[in-house]
């Protein structure tokens, strides 16, 4: 009896750790999955490149990606080459959401490193971002041809993430079209 009570705290601690790890995962996915299968929110904002106002109706090349980026976002530079590759190699179009940024700095950056976007939405106040549940950069959304959000990824878009999260869904969408 003594031996059991001796090890009981350790056993309980191990169960606690296992329990916490399983439940912690659930919280993370809760944060990200709220907008899935919902309509892309309406908005009316200026393009980055000029003062032209764009709305949800201007996102015509669907299905497409919406990529949240900014000049102050270091991780965005990491995913940028891959975005350029995606734009060139695959048939998917990418719209940019320039998040809480300086307009001229942003335009200059795209001139410097290349512009993978059809156009970028200039969301200086972050209002479209809030409607999307965005809380930082980079983030990437997959929007289907009905304007419904199918995938949301928080963090750098890598080939692995593309394979795991986006490619399968994209192929399914293409199948549906046929």
């Amino acid at each position: 009896m003594n031996r059991i009570t001796h090890y009981l705290p350790l056993i309980f601690f191990i169960f606690l750790i296992i329990g916490l790890f399983t439940f912690l995962d659930n919280e993370e996915s809760d944060l990200r999955s709220v907008l899935l299968d919902k309509n892309f929110p309406d908005f009316s904002l200026s393009k980055l490149e000029n003062q032209e106002i764009v709305t949800k109706n201007d996102l015509v090349e669907l299905p497409s990606l919406l990529n949240v980026w900014a000049t102050w976002c270091i991780a965005c530079r990491v995913e940028h080459p891959y975005l350029m590759r995606l734009r060139n190699e695959s048939t998917i179009n990418i719209y940019g959401l320039n998040y809480k940024d300086d307009r001229s700095k942003a335009i200059n950056l795209l001139d410097q490193i290349g512009d993978p976007y059809e156009f970028s939405i200039f969301d200086h106040e972050g209002i479209l971002a809030i409607d999307l549940g965005v809380y930082g950069a980079p983030e990437t959304f997959l929007i289907d041809k009905s304007g419904i959000i199918r995938v949301r990824h928080v963090g750098v878009l890598t080939p692995e993430v593309w394979e795991e999260k986006f490619n399968g869904v994209l192929n399914d969408l293409k199948e549906d079209e046929k």
């Binding site: 009570t5 705290p9 919280e27 944060l31 709220v34 106040e125 809030i130 409607d131």
Partner: protein, 157 residues
Amino acid sequence: MKNRTLVCILCLLSFTAESESSKEVYSFVNDENQERFYTLLDTYRCPKCQSSNLSGSNAPIAKDLKREIHRLIEEGKTDEQIEAFLRSRYGDFILYKPALRKNTLILWLGPFILLSLIVFLVVSWNMSSKRKSKDLEAEQIVKVIERTRLKKLFEED
């Protein structure tokens, strides 16, 4: 001794000064709105920092959400409407205190269960060690009695 209390008081004062300077200035139509605003800031989580609420965070998204909550309050929205606004965008996780649900039950009850278990273990260990020392004492007494009995036996011989 006096120096230590002085240092303690100075440290405490510096903490209050810091929290004042990080507050943005918001104006409200009435006092009730202002009160509601600060209560709501405590209720909702900063989605970026995740382990602090909106009032305790200076992250860009926290500033934006504060601005939105301010706007919604001034527009006359109720607390329920504001909660719906936030939850439809950021999910249940935006609530700083997790909603009481089946899967969060262990989160809420866990500390109490853990505490009761520890108290139980400590008390039972204590009682068993008391029992042990009482047993030992009893053994000692029995030994002494037996020894004196033996002595008497030998002496009688």
